[in-house]
Symmetry: C2
Subunit: 480 residues, 2 copies
């Protein structure tokens, strides 16, 4: 096994190529059972990739049973029947090997950049937290005070929101918090105004409590706030900093108009500030809650800005909602990892959080600029790009005579996965299909390849077949 | 600072003594600003304690601002004004320094043993998971398949429950799962039968959906199942393996009776198997769901058996509840850390989970036997011990003329914190006060000291003052 040298190609992720190569070596018998593989380090050096890349490839092979790790001795090939590769009934393994058939480039919107994650620092802090006696208990019902203090400080510095640890409730996701909050709000409100198009996950949480919906139309130029006057509800859910999914922001005049509206109606605004950290063209706009927080319920989370898998979110409640919430949920256990909370508190307190946000803003800015340039170069006036000023995805409206479904399936058959937006719309339909493209986790090379493949899929060949009804739509859970 | 030698005493935790000593050295000026402290290792060696103990003490001092860590250089004393120690407005710091005034021994029931936690193995696995590309995304709505598969395997091996990954839903706590599950159940059921006394947290979750309660009396000898016939509800919440809080188990005859009852009524039983891993006198009884799972909703979690702060729980749903749940919550994000799920899957797959459970069963068995022996030695027939066969706490019924409140306050004034059980009772009152004593996190020495102090508090002095109304009750959230 000493001379296994192969060349990595552009295109698919490197760890995946390494994984595929070794898998085929083992399947074809080029490497035999109990042979030792090159070490993580040797392989990384010889292929000019990071050790994380080779480790990830090996981990995948271990997970699928091709190889085993024997501690410091290294990695060895397992005895495997050749037939196993064809007929494998283990659903987990099935799913893993299905990777091969997935599109080469996945413009998913539900991931974050891995390359610039502060792995060492986070690990060190997480490892320290695990030695504390304080980590071996149930957490506080409304979240750990040390983290709530750090969030209060951060919200003031970066969003202009004046609050204190006591008014902050820590939860595990926006939806979980909306389900719990809805329990309080439904005592006073039967209906809620939501943006159209808007975040479907929030609508699901409101439906949990059977709120009726009124819809506020949002266009590419912004939300049509004039319609609020005719509406009956006194409760409004909005994403003012980066409208989900259109990407527009409310101007200061519009923000003031909203504050005035809610004060006149004695209602509440739920401000979901889910990815305000990443604004590329101007400084982030101050939050609605920074203008007047008396009737604003502010929601934030760490999913886009740090790591979605942590499941760490928070809300700032105004009185009297806060008192009602504290009374109602005093005997509910926190649903958020105590360890993640303590580690994040340490991470924020040390200044690493601010450094991380600054770093990621530059990383994502570079990616989005590149993506926009590539899209313009390949598509020209065939598309309109929407929402490139902020966030971790953008939308493209296609001026072609094709349906959203066709565009997605056609891209998929060319090896690119892109996402629909129709699920966000309620009554306010769009004239042309709008496709969602996430870029946060892709490298510049992957973005290049993805856009090229999209060009090939959508306009590259003259004799493209017309839309087929075959294959059905994507399931909704894949489309987030 | 080279010759700072002091002697650790029996009684309060060692890390706390070290912390207190250094704090007073700094406050009195015995150690001066910018002095270097002994290293974690040096101090541990000279005091004959583990490095975790000295690290914990130093971490506490760092958190409070007394000292700072400078990486490999070591720990140094900060410049601090003497006044700071008296007038500190930082609520976090206040809370930390309030440690001093807390009881010496806290028989809390909401913690787990730290000394035998598989720190290195868990850390290694958690650190690996953080390098996977798979960790940088949102998790699956119903939990990661790799973990659900491991849980299915474990449930069959250890609880006799035959299920598969697809029927398992991963959540973050029993309460969170009951809130979501209640959304489905309330379509068919308006009321639920709960144990009396019983787990208050479950009642809170049922109240979220305004279920009406019927109560099933549980005595020290067991639950009175004959009463089920007269009840109207077809939905029952029970803790058959280790009744919460009484600690009795349902016999196989009683289990079969329950299964027959629920099949006749076409209802559902919610079986909360929250700490079945720790049974000390016989082998764990098989779960209700192992007899007939058609009408049993099985709940389990990792809070007692592993780490409460992880917030990892699961339920096994029978059809048609499963289909309804999957349909209803398909668009809800998971509220459970993806990283914790992936790490736990690895931990279980590697066999470490089974090793951990075996190890902890012995650790806890030793602690509970010791606690029971000490209680018998000091209290004799003055108390009845309830529920020592399993779980991480036991109950003592006191045959003295004192109220629950007096017993708790009196113990507290002698430096021991014990917990009430009255909050678990609804209609089925007890003749004598019953006190809850958790032992999982205490060392044998701490248990000895705690029981001695309880003796002093409750029967040690002849001229004990009569109960006072002063000081108020403990807040409920402290009593879990």
């Amino acid at each position: 096994m000493k001379n296994t040298i192969f060349v990595l190609e552009e295109g698919s992720p490197k760890y995946q190529q390494i994984y595929e190569k070794f898998k085929s070596f083992i399947e074809r018998g080029d490497i035999r059972p109990n042979d030792r593989l090159p070490s993580i380090r040797q392989l990384a050096d010889s292929l000019h990739v990071s050790r994380n890349t080779t480790l990830t490839a090996y981990e995948q092979l271990v997970a699928e049973g091709y190889i085993r790790g024997e501690g410091r001795k290294g990695y060895f090939v397992n005895e495997v029947e050749p037939l196993l590769f064809q007929e494998n009934e283990n659903p987990h393994r099935k799913k893993q090997t299905a990777l091969k058939k997935m599109p080469v480039i996945n413009f998913r919107g539900d991931a974050v950049d891995q390359a610039h994650f502060p792995l060492k620092i986070w690990r060190r802090m997480a490892n320290q937290v695990l030695t504390w006696q304080d980590s071996f208990r149930y957490g506080e019902p409304f979240g750990e005070e040390v983290l709530r203090e750090q969030i209060a400080k951060y919200l003031f510095q970066s969003r202009g929101v004046k609050t204190n640890a006591n008014a902050i409730i820590i939860g595990s996701s926006t939806q979980q918090m909306l389900v719990y909050l809805g329990q309080i709000l439904k005592e006073e409100f039967q209906s809620i105004i939501v943006e159209d198009p808007g975040y479907d996950g929030a609508r699901e949480a409101f439906q949990f409590h059977r709120f009726e919906f009124e819809t506020l139309p949002v266009h590419e130029t912004g939300a049509d706030l004039s319609q609020l006057k005719q509406m009956n509800s006194r409760l409004l859910y909005v994403t003012p900093s980066h409208q989900s999914p259109i990407g527009v922001s409310l101007s200061i005049q519009q923000r003031q108009m909203l504050i005035q509206w809610v004060n006149e109606r004695c209602g509440y605004i739920i401000e979901d500030d889910y990815d305000s950290e990443f604004r590329y063209t101007q400084k982030p706009f101050p939050a609605l809650a920074s203008i007047d927080a008396a009737r604003v319920i502010y929601l934030g989370n760490f999913s886009k800005s740090f790591l979605p898998g942590l499941r760490l979110a928070y809300m700032v409640l105004p009185e009297p909602i806060l008192s009602q919430y504290q009374k109602h949920f005093a005997y509910f256990e926190s649903s958020t990892s105590l360890l993640s909370q303590l580690t994040m508190a340490k991470f924020m307190e040390s200044g690493e959080w601010n450094r991380h946000i600054k770093r990621m803003r530059l990383v994502y800015k570079r990616k989005v600029s590149h993506l926009v340039a590539e899209l313009r170069k390949h598509f020209g006036p065939t598309i309109t790009i929407i929402g490139e000023q902020s966030g971790l995805y953008l939308l493209i409206k296609l001026h072609l005579n094709h349906s959203e479904e066709w565009l997605i399936q056609r891209a998929s058959s060319c090896g690119v996965k892109v996402y629909p937006t129709s699920l966000y719309f309620m009554n306010n339909h769009t004239d042309r299909p709008i496709i969602k493209i996430g870029f946060s986790h892709l490298s510049i090379d992957e973005i290049d390849l993805g856009v090229e493949l999209l060009k090939k899929a959508w306009v590259g060949e003259k004799d493209i077949e017309t839309p087929t009804a075959k294959g059905g739509g994507l399931s909704r859970s894949e489309n987030l």
